[in-house]
Amino acid sequence: MILRELRPAFSLVVLFTLLIGLILPGIFTGAMQAVLPWQANGSLIRQNGQAIGSVLIGQNFTGAQYFVPRPSVLSPNPYTQDTSGASNLGPTSKVLLTSVRQRVAAYLKAYGPGPVPADAVTASGSGLDPDISSENALRQAPAVAAARHLPAATVIALVNHLARHRALGGIIGTNHVNVLRLNLALDHLPPQ
């Protein structure tokens, strides 16, 4: 009874492995490389011929000159580009609570008294979150402007220009801004 099924079962595994494992991905990859090459290769931004990052993947920024992304728990460095993951710390975790308290204190020190947006002091799901909430960006804007000797209004206008908004009557998505795009745009502002 089992012997009778051996040939069809084995053959179908082999045939589908060839079709789904090799032929289809081959054709599909070729088609996507031809039609949508920028997206298919990781949505890379280039400067002077060098890839400096993917629009979709966050990078780490520190210092007052730049907008700072969300905390990332990746190792060896935050935003290590070939890893991904979350803290996986639970709601009652002491380790998480201590980190959140430290981040809140640092945020208030850097950007002055006021509300602390939740995305600024919590780690993302991927550790590579490319965005911060618009609220968070606008809170950071005056300090970034001061460090660059720019009028605050210029930097705020830049944040508002690059911000993405909720779509479909506010049902889909969030108001946010891409940190890499924002910081690149800052670097390209004409000097005052």
Binding site: F28, F61, P91, D129
Partner: protein
Amino acid sequence: MTIHGLLYIALLFALVLGTAFPLGRYIAAIFEGHVAWLRPLERGFYRLAGVNEARQMGWQSYAIALLLLSVIHFGLLYAILRLQYYLPFNPLHITGMSPRLAFNTAASFTTNTNWQAYVPEQQISNGAQMLGLCVHMFLSAAAGIAVAAAVMRAFTGSGLKSLGNFYTDLTRITLYLLIPGALIAATLLVLAGAPQTFAQGMPLHTLQSGVQPLAIGPVAFQEAIKEFGTNGGGFFNANSAHPFENPNAWTNLLETWLLLVIGFALPIAFGHMVKDKAQGRALMAAMAIILALGCVGAYAAEAAGNPLHIAAGVQASGNWEGKEVRFGIPASTTFNVAATGTSTGAVDSATDSYTPLGGVIPMFLMQLGEVTPGGVGSGFYTIIVFALLSVFVAGLMVGRTPEYLGKKVQAKEIKLAMLGVLILTFFILAGACFSLVTPSGVASLANGGPQGLSEMLYGWTSATENNGSAFAGLSGDTPLLDYGLGAAMLFGRFAFMVPVLAIAGSLAAKPKLSESTGTFPTTGPLFTFLLIGVIIILGGLQFMPADTLGPIAEHFLLYAGKSF
């Protein structure tokens, strides 16, 4: 909670249920052999594989064919994972998996679970993902749907000796449903930014972090079937939270739709097969009501945020730990709830970091037996088991032999149904209990207090119910969990599937009685709510003590200001 968040959930349900009706009709046509637009390719497969299309299989032959194909495919994946170093498409020269991790992973993908005890970026090559995992994502999904087709056929006539032909079912479902759906979805994903390349990631000259390699690969194709076939195995460690797997809020909506739609279309297909559409709608309604309650509940819990963090000075805008900014709270929680209600096991946010009540809902949906709407195929045949138990309960109340679609449900079917339900419960509770009293199991936990218990309970629930999602702090690659959860996945899949096929075979052979005034109707709201009650009481109640010790206890401790 905001009205916008609730409207998002409403929009998703409208899209899924609206499209499930035409898709269900199409799936029924595939089952009946009326779809043939790739006929030359289909016929070529049969010729090469020596499949006799006209052959009709009884339940034993159907089960043997399915098990044998699964064993062969399991062996092939095990070999690929062990030997990946020598296989093509391995630009990073990743070495072979250890025997225990390869066993766990092969069991995981053969059973449509997609539990991932490995770190994809470091432990699996692009070639092994393509040739191994991705093929399993199609065939394990198709095998589940094939069993659903077999079960449906049992109710279509009197004295049936056959449940169909496993090989033609598998081939047709793959060619006419899964491959076209995955290709369309994958194209949309690439359009939004999901990569699809065989090249190695090029080094990035980052602005402040030096030169770094970027992890990349043929992501979009695998991502599409990962959701459409309710698989869940991420190309990357962060799964659908990774921006390359899920680039924006629109792809997040698309992926949530993909992972739900076949599950909801199958009861509709059933209605077409048995020529009584109301039967399918009653099952679909029970699935949708439980899932909708779960979506709203998890959203409410996460939108309320973490009181400890709010007290520490964080703005009260929901629990953002482990969530991505571009999706927002309602779309994140809805994705995770939908993925646990369907045995997909994908996540777009870290369930381990959810609030206790936000985390217990995904776990409870799995414990119910994965019927809301469950994995592709498996959700359908599991809810049929619950439907049989429902008419049995109703029959006990009125003292009449229960019938389901004119088939008498007798002791043999009920024994087999209860056997299936109890096997799942046993593996979850005994496995979690045993692991929590062994030093090796305790060492795998990442969090203290009740959250630690939740991590282990969630792991065994996820494996046994073939979901694959995790409270991901749990370190899964240990001998205990690799072998233990691997066995749980295999039993959870096949020790349930075979009794179900036996039930189908037994019912198929019985005469189909015509309806009389004494027949308990299995359509309409009364039956739907009876079914929901049976699912929650028979499926869920035995887990209440364990869930109370984990997430429920943690909820009260959280609000009492305790941390661990």
